[in-house]
Amino acid sequence: MIAGLALLLLATQGPAAPPAKLAASLARLFGPGVRSDTTRVDTTTVLRVSRGDSLLGFAAVGNVIGKDQPITFLVAIGPDDRLKDIDILVYREPYGGEVAYEAWRRQFRGARVTDSLRVGKEIRSISGATISVHAVTLGVRRLLADLTAWHATGAIR
């Protein structure tokens, strides 16, 4: 159901996620066998995830620069605009890979665009991963804001 070509198109800014990793991430977040359709909004490709007639949510892939390498991550929201989860799809730095740990990622779950997501406040940092923690947190805030805004305007539905 997930067209390989669509997956290759997903990350428009910076490197793309490997299709297998993206598929695995969607399966983890929304369950197996979901349908995903791509919509293009501005320069971002958004995945609309559904099963049957019911909308499960939206996901988009972004890139932020860590110390010097792009970190490719995914942000998924539910139909209620609450952040379902984030995923680190590709991590390329020699240090700071702790941002991919479940214990760190889960701090974002349930967040809405109106919620404050600041490093050292709502989002606890990890020593030795400070640069990546700041970069990914900023990237998640941006993508969550974009997805929420597009959902509100009907650009994605």
């Binding site: 290759l8 198109l9 990350a11 428009t12 800014q13 910076g14 490197p15 793309a16 320069t43 620069i65 860590g66 110390k67 010097d68 390498q69 590709v90 991590y91 390329r92 020699p94 240090y95 890979g97 702790e98 991919a100 740990y101 479940e102 214990a103 760190w104 701090q107 600041r118 490093v119 050292g120 406040k121 989002i123 606890r124 940092s125 990890i126 020593s127 030795g128 991963a129 400070t130 700041h134």
Partner: protein, 372 residues
């Protein structure tokens, strides 16, 4: 980290073409540095200021898996033949080949993965103007050697590792006061007579990181007296560290034990008076005053206290007299103001003591540090 034009061009092609290109080559520059001012108590000790470190970080990614990283460092601002202090050195220069999240192959001049400061040494990452004395005299930061190894995160989450095979230490450089420090070869025509193994395991959660490190290898450097075997004059180092942050509070602690098995023979050969065991550690607590004074601020004003205890003569071999002044105690009180997470203005007052009561003094230090 400043991304150069290569990446911008790449992005433009990807975006405008509407088709993903496998063009990933990019070069980045960054850096860190620190200026120190220190004034010790006592007669004839005027304050001194130095541009302690100026480091240029240069990295290049050849494709999505293969990348190069380096740090070029000038210590104390100026290097001239026969001049004072200054050093020009490569602090790290290695290639990474990323095969999977759990396996990156690494080779080149790498940072030895022991303790906290050695791998994470950018000035805004630690309190206090100067690095802890422990991170000079026990763990010889910045410790780097040439070798090959692997790094990655163990699947399942929470644990990462690094393990390298590198050139060994040279016993000839060992000393009573600074232990193994000048035994480092630092990538300069290093003898590989005693390949050494070093590694680290880290367990992390938000706010908490625990680490354990080791180094094992000979230090004879094919010296005819100390031996030509791979593990002759072995150095065995173990170290553990912890970092914890919650709200306004941050804590860190490091301990290490270094065994210099053939210290007697090394001392007889080179007159180094190195101890047969070097041990110690420190604990540090900090409280972010802005947490209470300005709760909404992302800036930090850390008040901290650090207590270090270490002895480079924890044990001495027969024939070496134990020097009580090497059993050091240092207490450092200070403030670190961080307007951003990667800049720091520092001030501290250090009480330098030792079991022998020799040359005890206090030092007032001021400094600034940055990284980007």
């Amino acid at each position: 980290m400043r991304s150069l034009f290569g990446w911008a061009v790449c992005c433009a092609l990807v975006t405008t073409g509407g088709r993903r290109l496998d063009c990933q080559e990019r070069t980045t520059v960054g850096g860190y540095g620190e200026v120190h001012y220190a004034n010790a108590t006592g007669p004839n000790t005027p304050g001194r200021a130095t541009l302690r470190r100026f480091v240029v970080y240069l990295a290049h990614s050849f494709d999505d898996r293969l990348s190069f990283r380096s740090e070029l460092e000038v210590e104390d601002a100026r290097v001239e033949p026969g001049g004072r202090a200054g050093e020009l050195e490569i602090e790290q220069a290695f290639l990474d080949y990323r095969l999977a999240d759990w396996l990156t192959l690494r080779t080149g001049l790498v940072l030895v993965p022991v303790g906290i400061i050695n791998e994470t040494h950018e000035p805004p990452t630690f309190n206090g103007v100067a690095r802890p004395g422990f991170d000079n005299d026990v763990l010889p930061t910045t410790w780097r050697e040439i070798g090959i190894g692997a790094a990655g995160a163990i699947p399942g989450g929470g644990v990462s590792y690094r393990v390298y095979l590198v050139n060994g230490l040279r016993a000839q450089g060992f000393a009573a006061g600074e232990g193994i420090r000048e035994g480092r070869q630092e990538g300069q025509d290093a003898t590989f007579a005693n390949p050494s193994l070093t590694g680290r395991l880290e367990w992390a959660r938000p706010g908490l990181k625990l680490g354990g490190s080791f180094w094992y290898g000979g230090s004879a450097a094919a010296d005819s007296v100390l031996g030509s075997g791979t593990f002759d004059a072995p150095i065995a180092l173990v170290s553990a560290d912890a970092r914890y942050d919650k709200g306004a509070v941050s804590l860190r602690a490091v301990v290490a034990n270094i065994s210099v098995k053939d210290a007697g023979a090394i001392d007889a050969r080179y007159g180094t008076a190195v101890g047969s065991r070097i041990a110690g550690g420190y604990v540090e607590g900090a409280y972010n005053l802005l947490h209470a004074l300005a709760p909404g601020s992302s800036q930090k004003l850390n008040a901290f206290v650090r207590h270090e205890r270490y002895d480079t003569h924890a044990d001495v071999p027969a024939g070496v007299t134990r020097d009580a002044s090497l059993a050091r105690r240092m207490t450092t009180l200070g403030l670190t103001y961080k307007p951003t997470w990667n800049t720091a203005f520092k001030g501290d007052y250090q009480l330098v003591r030792n079991a022998g009561g020799v040359g005890e003094h206090e030092v007032l230090s001021l400094g600034v540090g940055y990284q980007f």
